[in-house]
């Protein structure tokens, strides 16, 4: 049922996959964090011609499964490296969530701050970069962090487009050695060990930033 | 005046105490709020608790309502001690007590009538019809007969508080606890609530423990006024004497400030 020898044999492979998982999470988060901010700021554009189409795209992307988005891009863009596709699609999908987080953060900046910026005739760039965003982003860091953790736990979807991340490797090892028990239990344990302390950290940060 | 109502006075036998505090201590951390407090309330008696802010008046009522637990000492209700009892037996003790809160605490998920009938149906086992009849009588008493099917959030503060009084009375408690029931109200709504309480004091022989800053009201309904300070009763007596010639200097200062 459980064989330590097999488990030890599979561990290096699964850990190698874990490296890919971390890479995908890190780069995917970067895409989500940057793109989300861009979407949030564009969402405040003065013209409806930007806001409405943007709203539609955000709604559509975030209410459809990331696994199908991955599949679609992978099949429609042959020749592209699957890991790159995975990072971009995952990042894009999560950018829809992070944009909402930023939006809430920006909305929470008091009106007075905008008015003060106007009163000082700051140019828009400085208003955003120097006044609004520093205040908005600080408060949303824990929420962003939680989305990074969610994304981390969704990286196994990349295995459907042949990225050899952790669960892909676990699956491979499991089927080659008929050791699914060891393979998936190890994968589960690694997820737990990596995500639990991180989410604790976010909770602490949340409490700290609440004041 | 109500306090001279002979019918009520004679109906209370001198030995029957409704509430006894026996060497009650209440501490929060190392802050002692009640310090070996002793006092008794007879059945049918109307007692007003006065004292400076933070002297523990609310704490006394909350201890009686079992919302807090004593640190030391014993509280008895109708001769039965109930400090430190498990939940099941606490419920038996609570049967005798009703409470009206400063902030009304009506249930927003129920209409006015259901706020009043819910506990009689669930706790006392009345039928819906019996409970509704009782509730309508009480709504009549508090002057809100036409509000039975309204949401509590649609009522003024004074109306909400009168519903809360009806809700407490629907359980037919022997003892009614009133904690600054008018202090969350706009000044023009205070009188309506006090009038209802005066009517109840007159029409029933319910025991009342009441914390209030309305000294006129206290004078009208109380048999006895207890002055608290430093976690103890420092002076007590009938309102006429307490308000006109307080013995204790703290009482004099306090009344001088509020009257």
């Amino acid at each position: 049922m459980w064989d330590w020898h097999t488990a030890r044999e599979g561990l290096p492979l699964i850990l190698h996959g874990f490296g890919i998982t971390l890479l995908a999470t890190a780069l995917g988060s970067l895409v989500a964090i940057v793109l989300g901010l861009v979407i949030a700021v564009l969402g405040r554009a003065p013209t409806r011609w930007v806001r409405l189409p943007l709203r539609a795209v955000v709604e559509f992307v975030r209410s459809t499964p990331v696994m199908i988005q991955l599949f679609a891009v992978w099949v429609l863009a042959p020749g592209l490296d699957p890991l790159t596709i995975g990072i971009v699609v995952l990042g894009l999908h999560y950018a829809m969530y992070t944009s909402e987080v930023y939006r809430a953060g920006i909305d929470a900046v008091p009106r007075g701050q905008w008015e003060a910026a106007v009163a000082l005739s700051l140019p828009p760039i400085r208003t955003w970069w120097g006044v609004v965003l520093p205040q908005a982003v600080r408060k949303v860091i824990p929420a962003l962090g939680n989305y990074v953790i969610s994304m981390f736990k969704e990286t196994p979807f990349l295995s459907v487009i042949t990225v050899n991340e952790m669960v892909h490797e676990a699956n491979q090892f499991g089927s080659d050695n008929f050791a699914y028990m060891e393979a998936f239990t190890i994968a589960a344990a690694i997820f737990l060990i990596a995500s639990y302390p991180t989410s604790m950290l976010m909770r602490k940060l949340e409490k700290r930033l609440a004041h | 005046m109500l306090t001279d109502n002979p019918a009520r006075k004679t109906s209370v036998s001198p030995v029957s105490t409704a509430v006894t505090f026996d060497q009650v201590v209440k501490r929060y951390g190392d802050h002692t709020v009640l310090d070996h407090l002793d006092f008794e309330v007879r059945q049918g008696e109307r007692v007003t608790l006065i004292g400076p802010s933070g002297s523990g008046k609310t704490t006394i009522l909350r201890l009686l309502m079992t919302l807090e637990r004593v640190t030391e000492g014993v509280i008895q209700v109708n001769g039965q001690p109930f400090s430190g009892l498990p939940e099941k037996q606490l419920r038996r003790a609570r049967r005798h007590i009703g409470m009206v809160f400063q902030q009304f605490n009506l249930f927003p998920n129920m209409k006015v009538l259901d706020n009043i009938t819910e506990a009689p149906v669930q706790v006392l086992g009345l039928s819906r019809d019996e409970a509704a009849e009782r509730a309508r009588d009480l709504l009549d008493l508090v002057g809100l007969a036409d509000k039975a099917d309204v949401h509590p959030t649609r009522l003024s503060g004074g109306q909400q508080q009168r519903v809360a009084i009806a809700r407490a009375l629907a359980m037919r408690p022997d003892i009614l606890l009133l904690d600054e029931v008018t202090s969350a109200l706009d000044p023009e709504l205070v009188q309506g609530v006090l009038d209802v309480l005066r009517d109840i004091a007159q029409a029933t022989d319910i025991t009342m423990l009441c914390v209030t800053h309305e000294m006129g009201f206290a004078r009208d309904i109380s048999d006895r006024v207890l002055m608290f300070d430093g976690g103890r009763v420092i002076e007590s007596g009938p309102p006429e004497r307490m308000f006109s010639e307080p013995e204790h200097e703290r009482t004099r200062d306090f009344l001088g400030a509020v009257l």
């Binding site: 049922m1 499964p65 736990k153 676990a170 737990l192 | 409470m99 809160f101």
Partner: protein
Amino acid sequence: MSFLTAFVRSLPSIWDGIQITVLATLLGALLALVLSFVLGLAARSRHLLVRGLARAVVEFFRGTSLYVQLFWLFFALPILGFKLVPLACAVLAFGLNYGAYGSEVVRGALAAVPRAQWEATVALNMTPWQRMRKVILPQAWPQMIPPFNNLLIQLLKSTPLLSLITVSDITFQMDQLRSATGDTKAAYLVLLVIYFVLAYALTLCMNGLEALGKARLGQGRA
């Protein structure tokens, strides 16, 4: 064969696929709902042991990826001698994973009901069960609905996993259509639109529930 003809011809199997997907979503959500309440209430228990156990279960199912849980149930559990049909694996995995997230929603919403409401129930001598059922829960649940809706949509978005464990869900059916027609673009677009419509429909239902709950609290339109 044009995509449209093929699409029309395979409508019955697509409809079957939609039904499977919706069934898995609803059953998974039902199990998740039950677990949300069990774990959410347990997290507020007076007993340290009950609280600790609930905490551990929640952290475990939140911390190990849904994907891994599903594969574990599908591939590893049979080794222990428990072989579930694939749909049951999926429902169980959805229920456990989203139940763990949902329990946080329940816990938060219960904690958000003012303490004074609880005090009023004590003053009226209600039993703990009556307090919960008659007063606390009715006030807490409208607050739970928006976060529950988010979780429901996420659950729905996890259902393509069904196709990975041999269930003929909508993703599987559309994939069949894709290989039959060779029109990848159209097939995936239709699939995404189907999901979008499903998500939208679920959101509408949940909004209705929320409005109902709020009206009972006298907050919505009377």
